[in-house]
Subunit: 277 residues, 2 copies
Amino acid sequence: MTGIDAPPHVFDTAIATEYVGTHHLAGHTCPDYANMVGPFGGVTAAALLRAIEQHPERLGDPLSLTVNFAGPIADGPFEILARPVRTNRTNQHWQLELTQDGAVATTATAVFGLRRDTWSDLELIMPSVPGPDRAVPQEFPEFIAWGRNYDLRFVTGAVPDVAPADDRPGHPDSVSTLWLRDRPARPLDFASLTAMSDAFYPRIFLRRGQYVPAGTISLTIYYHATAGELAAQGSEYLLGTARANRFGHGHFDQNAHLWGHDGTLLATSHQLVYYKG
Amino acid sequence: MTGIDAPPHVFDTAIATEYVGTHHLAGHTCPDYANMVGPFGGVTAAALLRAIEQHPERLGDPLSLTVNFAGPIADGPFEILARPVRTNRTNQHWQLELTQDGAVATTATAVFGLRRDTWSDLELIMPSVPGPDRAVPQEFPEFIAWGRNYDLRFVTGAVPDVAPADDRPGHPDSVSTLWLRDRPARPLDFASLTAMSDAFYPRIFLRRGQYVPAGTISLTIYYHATAGELAAQGSEYLLGTARANRFGHGHFDQNAHLWGHDGTLLATSHQLVYYKG
């Protein structure tokens, strides 16, 4: 659906917040992007990024974002404090806090800046894999609401069966490779790229062959793409890969890469995840 | 030198700060860890981490640290504000600011927490390379003071010659693999691991075969090691690798991995770097 009378995409509704002061915004969680506990972390990260994008003092486009998930976000209203703490000639540093009833639920820092032409090279080449029409669409279980808003087509490392099974073997490595896009399709922008950077399910599920309690503690995204490179993607599928380096003592790291269908590396993300079991 | 009368290691002097208020610390840059402009970023990161370690309300050990280098740090005194913004049962979230004359030079967030026994696995196996006694010691040029405090033995991807040379070929990839430890040797702890996570010179130097203006904008470190695993390293060499994924539009990312000599993955780090040329 297009045109001026079209309702906004549910993703835009989910990340919408409103400035109620110079640096203060008011928002509300969106049931369409609920996770097992609280909202999908990617949509929280995207709401924080969008808050900066809409600030009148914002300089340039996103370069990096780090979001620390300090505590659960309850369904309902929240506030964001978004402060530019230093503005330089070509970049700008931000500190953010998301609070509910005065308690800090999420903190973040971001760097925005101007891009300019320089020597360039891509080392992380997109893997050569069958296209999205030859990959198997896969659904998250019903209790993961946000999964319904993504069209996920796994090439390798699909989501394990949700039914508990002590004898189901785990996977020998933590690698998933998949095509993904918003459902319904939506033109890519920095906010949706932010959310997609967190759309890779916890690697511990894959290794253990089952769902275990797990949650992201800290998420960092580097934006490699220019606004023009993002616009050129339209609403095509992106190719994503994710894997972990080490699981131990209740935590693991998870790294993800997102390329456009044309092979442009759009974003890389890193996260530290808490798990049990 | 050991014993109660031994002077502190220069690294401990460089990262020392003193609490002058509940959440406020006073520090001073150390000429031994100067970089081309301001202090070596790794020593700034380590000073911030050490500030948290010394806070009376600190819970557990470092899990993650993100440092944003917002502006240059001038030689001289600085202040750190270190606030625990949320303490949960098993982890604690911190926000930090380093200021000079009231201007923000550096911001940071950190997560500390408790580790416990869980299922574990290492996917990122240490590369099999010749030992430090068979790798070539290499010096940074004299104007990079902090380099003198590290014993660096490159296996691949050594620092290019400092003399300008338009016809010197660059390197086909951005990978460096090296053994490293403090010089003089010093038992490993979270603070020195923090600094070593940033001890990999900018990948753009390697690709271009020469020094170009470059500086870290944002650095994130994930601490995989327990305090016991760090203590077990003593003052042995660590093995480190670093590489970039994409260079473009004035920025590149740089990822680094640090293993103990026993193959334990101790830390992974990621940074976004500004460059010219």
